[in-house]
Amino acid sequence: AQSVTQPDIHITVSEGASLELRCNYSYGATPYLFWYVQSPGQGLQLLLKYFSGDTLVQGIKGFEAEFKRSQSSFNLRKPSVHWSDAAEYFCAVAFGSGNTGKLIFGQGTTLQVKP
């Protein structure tokens, strides 16, 4: 079955430290890959997406993600975290040719930033 896994439920990093949030998917082909961020009490905002081409994609707010086909992963990174990055991060994928626009989300990773 198609699935998305974010292994880390909760991550705490110090402000200024680097960040990596993990995302793995289970699917026979390359899916469409997204990272969304949800700030407290807010909706989801798209950080970046990968469809094809260069496997390192740049997003908003200084985030980047790297697609690794061999590992079925799409990990999100940021070189230096700011206190305002504290939020919930969701990896999402779209599979197949069904053309429904449906996104399948991972369980989310809560990022806490220490001063």
């Binding site: 969304y36 909706g43 989801l44 779209a94 599979f95 040719s97 053309n99 626009g101 449906k102 996104l103």
Partner: protein, 114 residues
């Protein structure tokens, strides 16, 4: 201008009541969705409409009935509310329903059933 707007933002109601959540998008998108986020923050799609036609119904109880009067609006009506319906409901829209299309989300409606 808010791209995808939902009303109300908060809704507290008693078991057994019927309630509606409204959603409007001003992006000119053809496709709209309802997602449910449970207490563990897990997000799952409920419905999708394209140009007012239902294209996804993810085994949601028939107490939930979406209605799309036009492609800019997708409302969610819930009959006979149950405690388990408590969640945050997100409306979203996308340019089309092609696989991989980017979805734009509203701020969510936190429904609490008491």
């Amino acid at each position: 201008d808010t791209a995808v707007s939902q009303t109300p933002k908060y809704l507290v109601t008693q078991m057994g009541n019927d309630k509606s959540i409204k959603c409007e998008q001003n992006l000119g998108h053809d496709t709209m969705y309802w997602y449910k986020q449970d207490s563990k923050k897990f997000l799952k799609i409920m419905f999708s409409y394209n140009n007012k036609e239902l294209i996804i119904n993810e085994t949601v109880p028939n107490r939930f009935s979406p209605k799309s009067p036009d492609k800019a609006h997708l409302n969610l009506h819930i009959n006979s509310l149950e405690l388990g319906d408590s969640a945050v409901y997100f409306c979203a829209s996308s340019h089309s329903h092609s696989t991989g299309t980017e979805a734009f989300f509203g701020q969510g409606t936190r429904l609490t059933v008491v």
